[in-house]
């Protein structure tokens, strides 16, 4: 028997229509207690709508939402033990920090002494013990962020929802807050549901990530699973960088398929066990830049050439320290990205060099289209 208590939040077949717009379409997922779960998707795919349904601000058109095993469909927002950090935080400007945090406790009728103790405690935990008497406009962006989280955490929620809370911060602060959020989640040991369209945020912080597209969940998994074993073309293209070719399946050979790209290039890919491809199907091939090896033509390499190889000419070198790349113009004029090591020596690739790109079959991914 399934242990119902193990999940803080369960959604089954949740859908939401706005008139003719299908904002959320048959979404199901379970979130185990104490995990950091991200929902990642492009703008307008229905992330906020899903979150607002969990918080109770919208009613799902279909499906059920259970928190700690209990359906909350008929529970008003102020009775759900799900707290939310809004995109622009929505701190109350007419109250100071202390009052902002105490607001929720007052609503449930906590006595004064307990409120005082709890507010001090949560301020300590977010390492801002001295800001209680400050006005909201006297806080920095990162401090406001932490106060918004503290305001929710002081109520000991079952689930904390965060709707792109880092969106309003500048880049530097965002990087710092990413780590901070993860630490805070560990410290409070509460289930966080984090919504973002920034994949690096989702991949860095989360235990599990759901990729959402056009109202549906494409795939749910651990960050490295999504990156290395995407199950749909959308996920392969959306998570991480990748080169992409469209083509047709021309041959099957055991656990491999051969695909000819629209430009006539023959590429080998591993057969997909879950949804096998057949000859004649059109398919997309994805390969990540870090798996492509770029070698100057005629140069002697120790390793034997791989099965997949394309020749081209370096269009430009994008130097970025350890993450440097070359852009190579392939035979049909497409640009292919490949990671390279730029040492500053004479062996480095330069624009105009003729190169051969090759990569192992196992690292390519193909999906029927």
């Amino acid at each position: 028997m399934e242990n119902q208590e193990a999940f803080d939040l369960e959604c089954t077949g949740v859908s939401k229509e706005f008139g003719t717009v299908q904002a959320v379409d048959d979404v199901s997922f379970n979130i185990p207690s104490g995990s950091f779960f991200s929902i990642l998707g492009p703008s307008g795919c229905g992330k906020t709508t899903l979150m607002r349904m969990i918080a109770g601000f919208e009613n799902p058109s279909a499906g059920d939402i259970r928190i700690k095993g209990k359906s909350v469909l008929n529970t008003p927002p102020n009775k759900r033990n799900v707290k939310m950090v809004f995109q622009h935080l929505a701190l109350f400007p007419m109250m100071n920090v202390y009052e902002n945090i105490a607001y929720g406790l007052k609503c449930i009728g906590t006595d004064k002494a307990t409120i005082e103790a709890k507010v001090r405690d949560v301020l300590d935990r977010i390492s801002l013990p001295d800001v209680a008497e400050r006005e909201i406009h006297q806080l920095s962006g990162g401090q406001k962020q932490r106060i918004a989280i503290a305001r929710c955490m002081v109520l000991d929620p079952d689930v904390l929802l965060l709707d792109e809370p880092l969106g309003a911060l500048d880049l530097k602060l965002r990087e710092a807050m990413k780590i901070e959020l993860k630490l805070l989640q560990h410290q409070f040991n509460t289930t966080f549901i984090y919504i973002t369209h920034d994949q690096s945020e989702a991949l860095v912080m989360s235990d599990h990530v759901a990729i959402m597209n056009e109202g549906r969940f494409e795939q749910i998994g651990r960050p490295e699973e999504l990156y290395h074993k995407p199950t749909t073309a959308f996920v392969a293209g959306f998570v991480g960088d990748s080169n992409r070719w469209s083509g047709k399946v021309v041959a099957l050979n055991g656990d491999r398929v051969q695909i000819t790209t629209d430009a006539g290039q023959a590429l080998w890919c591993p057969q997909r066990a879950a949804a096998p491809l057949s000859v004649g199907q059109s398919a997309d091939v994805f390969i990540r830049p870090e798996f492509i090896q770029a070698v100057r033509k005629g140069a002697q390499t120790g390793a034997a050439g791989q099965e997949n190889a394309i020749e081209g000419r370096v269009d430009s070198v994008l130097f970025n320290g350890a993450n440097s790349r070359v852009l190579v113009r392939g035979p049909s004029g497409e640009l292919i990205e490949a990671d390279v090591v730029v040492t500053g020596g004479t062996d480095d690739l330069r624009a105009g060099d003729d190169v051969r790109l090759d990569w192992p079959v196992a690292q390519s991914m193909c999906f029927a289209t």
């Binding site: 927002p77 707290k83 007052k106 609503c107």
Partner: protein
């Protein structure tokens, strides 16, 4: 050079304002004060003294009228706030983007008709032979015509109707600046409708409430047409006393004293109101 230009533009910008303040506000009021401090001792003979103010204190009718004007104005302000707030909230927060402009415009329409015409509109409706009375007679609810005019209720209703707009406009503009997420956060953190209203919406709208109340109170206490036309002879509005002194009795000295007293009285009420509710004038400027 740069600073000279700055100075010049400051002076140029400031000049009309300074002219307006001195010519239309300071000088007339100084004149009023001086006038009010002249006592008539014989025909065309005046001397300096507080006689006009002493007359006011010694005659209960005068200060009763002033107190009555003050308390009724407070009542009107309160009613305008109670009725205006939900309307403003609806316009700013609930109505859709498109209907919002139309509703706001609808609120402004009464301003296109003069005070006088509006008051006559009420008279047409409420007099003994007016629309309401005739309708009630026709339905048989009453068996003889009723006079709705010339009582305090009518005066209050008429005044609320005239001034409510000046309550709604500042309220709509402050509420409009409020992020909907703030209200949702209020609910999300466990507040019910009443808590959210009391702890979040009203405090947020406070600047609008304060400025709306001040404007409405001042307008009401200083209004003349509506109380006279709807309240008739026994409306006992203080502006009527001032008019009486100036025009009917041709006693400018005492009229000036009354005018000054009205100004002082309403200012004190506003100040007291601010003190009692813990607000300051600076609060009328929205935060952030």
């Amino acid at each position: 050079m740069q600073s000279d230009i700055k100075k010049l533009s400051l002076i140029l910008l400031f000049a009309p304002f300074a002219l307006w303040i001195t010519l239309l506000i300071i000088i007339p009021h100084m004149g009023m004060v001086v006038l009010s401090l002249r006592e008539k001792v014989a025909p065309r003979v005046y001397e300096f003294g507080f006689g006009n103010y002493i007359d006011f204190i010694n005659e209960p009718i005068y200060w009763n009228t002033l107190l009555r004007t003050g308390s009724m104005s407070i009542l009107v302000t309160f009613l305008a706030l109670i009725i205006g707030f939900p309307i403003a909230y609806y316009i700013a927060k609930i109505a859709g983007k498109r209907s919002r402009g139309a509703l706001f415009l609808l609120c402004l329409i009464p301003l296109w008709v003069s005070d006088l015409i509006r008051a006559f509109g009420w008279i047409l409706l409420l007099r003994e032979t007016g629309v309401v009375s005739s309708f009630l007679l026709w339905t048989g609810a009453v068996n003889q015509p009723i006079e709705f005019l010339y009582n305090d209720v009518t005066v209050v209703v008429g005044l609320v109707y005239t001034v409510i707009l000046f309550m709604i406009v500042p309220l709509v503009s402050t509420l409009d600046g409020m992020d909907d997420a703030m209200i949702e956060a209020g609910y999300n953190l466990g507040g019910n409708g009443l808590t959210v209203l009391r702890r979040i919406i009203v405090p947020y709208a406070m600047p609008g409430i304060v400025s709306g109340c001040i404007v409405v109170f001042m307008l009401t206490a200083g209004s003349y047409l509506t109380p006279i036309l709807l309240g008739g002879k026994n409306s006992s509005w203080f502006t009527e006393q001032i008019y009486d002194q100036f025009i009917t009795r041709f006693n400018w000295e005492s009229g000036a004293a009354f005018g000054f007293l009205l100004l002082a009285f309403t200012s004190i009420v506003v100040w007291l109101g601010l003190r009692l509710t813990g607000q300051t004038l600076a609060n009328t400027v929205a935060k952030q």
